[in-house]
């Protein structure tokens, strides 16, 4: 149904563009799925609804990106085929988003670290020479502004809250920190897309991201971890064990009844 015609005026390697659309789509899909796990389990009803809403936005963004990925690939795969019938090594999501949801502090800290990057990324991609990526980003950018605001408020509330909430959100930050480097990673095919004006250089987002992180962590009375060794692997499909477990659940119906529709 989605009209996502490929922009023929932009000459880029189809495989590279396919991989980029997967990266954006998979990252949104997996984080959206992790948020959906909170439905019925959040600490308060308002937050249960909020997390579902954030998850819904992300899954909506994923549908657009994966539909486009399928068109770019040109082998007849649609959003459902790509989401339900690929194995973990074919997924291109950031490692950070596949980690188990943890406690509420972990979920909120991850949402904050991610949204603080994704908002400026979408703002840059609105200028992408690829019209479909620009259109999806323009839509997603407004949603991401709400995600960043909501998660920032919670990081401050938890960090500057009780001894217990402070410790939990600081622990979350310490664990997640080594996963933040991946957001800024590029490889040869992403570099070619940056060169062509299709993707944006993530290095150009680093200052904005640092400022958001530092401002919020200061308000939250949290300590920014030292930047050292960083996790890496998703660009080449090397994931943690957690992704396979997530996919086993998310894909179970399509795996048991291939092609099932309702």
């Amino acid at each position: 149904m989605m009209a996502a015609n490929i922009d023929e005026t932009v000459k880029v390697d189809r495989e590279a563009l396919f991989q980029l659309a997967l990266r954006l789509g998979d990252t949104s899909l997996i984080l959206g799925h992790r948020l959906s796990e909170w439905a019925g389990h959040a600490p308060i009803l308002d937050e249960d609804i909020a997390l579902s809403n954030l998850g819904l936005d992300l899954i909506g963004q994923a549908r657009s990106f994966l539909t486009y990925a399928g068109e770019v690939e040109g082998r007849g795969r649609d959003e459902d085929t790509l989401a339900y019938l690929r194995n973990a090594p074919e997924y291109r999501n950031l490692l950070m988003v596949e980690l188990p949801r943890g406690d509420f502090a972990f979920t909120m800290m991850r949402q904050f670290l991610f949204s603080a990057f994704q908002l400026p990324l979408y703002q840059k991609l609105m200028q992408s020479r690829d019209k479909t990526l620009a259109a999806i980003s323009a839509k997603a950018e407004k949603e991401m502004a709400y995600h960043l605001r909501h998660s920032s408020q919670w990081v401050v509330r938890l960090g500057d809250g009780t001894e217990e909430s402070h410790q939990r959100v600081q622990n979350a930050l310490n664990t997640l920190w080594t996963y933040t480097g991946e957001m800024f990673e590029t490889d040869a095919s992403l570099k070619a897309l940056i060169e062509a004006g299709v993707y944006c250089d993530p290095a150009s987002i680093r200052d904005i991201w640092n400022k958001t992180i530092n401002d919020v962590l200061e308000q939250a009375t949290l300590t920014r971890p030292e930047t050292g060794w960083m996790q890496s692997g998703s660009l080449s499909g090397r994931h943690s064990e957690h992704l396979s477990h997530l996919l086993a659940e998310m894909q179970s119906v399509q795996r048991a009844y291939p092609g099932l529709k309702w």
Binding site: M1, M2, A3, G32, D46, I49, A50, N53, L54, L56, D57, L58, I59, G60, Q61, R63, S64, K131, A134, A135, I136, A138, K139, A140, K142, E143, A145, Y146, R149, H150
Partner: protein
């Protein structure tokens, strides 16, 4: 005696377009049934393509709006009812939907239904609900936000401190 009406391809498709448009006027948002998809600004275009196929272009409010599938089906059903069987519903993302597209009539209907319409002049301030939101029941601006995310993706939950009624606010996007 009036001149016999000459049926040409042009006025046949003009009639078809008119019939399609008035049928589409009955299609409402499934979550806010007082608003038509035209009031909401979700309906972007109606045209006749080859073989008298009616093409309807819609745009989602939020990326993950679960109402889009229902709206597409409702469009087909409404057109089928007026004997239009060749229908193509197309979803476009660009330009991105904004609450600014909601018609004045739509805003009024929303208010009467008990939902505070989005404040106009959508700046980042109004996007984040920093503007004053008037209570749809008593009109007081002495209101407070209870939850940023309400019953649907497009709404936030507020409470009026004057009449004490809770109410939904249609967020700016």
């Amino acid at each position: 005696m009036a001149a016999e009406r000459i049926i040409t391809a042009d006025n046949a498709s003009a009639e078809l377009l008119e019939r399609a448009r008035s049928a589409l006027n009955t299609v409402c948002d499934p979550e806010i049934p007082v608003l038509t998809i035209e009031d909401l600004g979700v309906l972007r275009d109606v045209s006749i393509t080859e073989n008298e196929c009616v093409q309807v272009v819609i745009t989602p409010t939020y990326s993950g709006c679960p109402a889009m599938n229902t709206i597409s089906m409702d469009i087909e059903t409404a057109l089928n009812k007026v004997d239009i069987d060749k229908v193509k519903v197309e979803l476009v993302l660009s330009p991105a939907w904004t609450t600014e597209w909601m018609s004045e009539e739509g805003r009024q209907k929303l208010l009467e239904y008990g939902i505070a319409p989005p404040v106009t002049g959508g700046t980042r301030g109004s996007l984040f609900g920093e503007a004053e939101i008037a209570c749809p029941q008593c009109g007081s601006k002495n209101t407070e936000k209870l939850a940023e995310f309400g019953s649907t993706a497009c709404k936030a939950l507020y409470r009026c401190k004057a009449c004490l009624e809770p109410f939904d606010y249609f967020k700016c996007l």
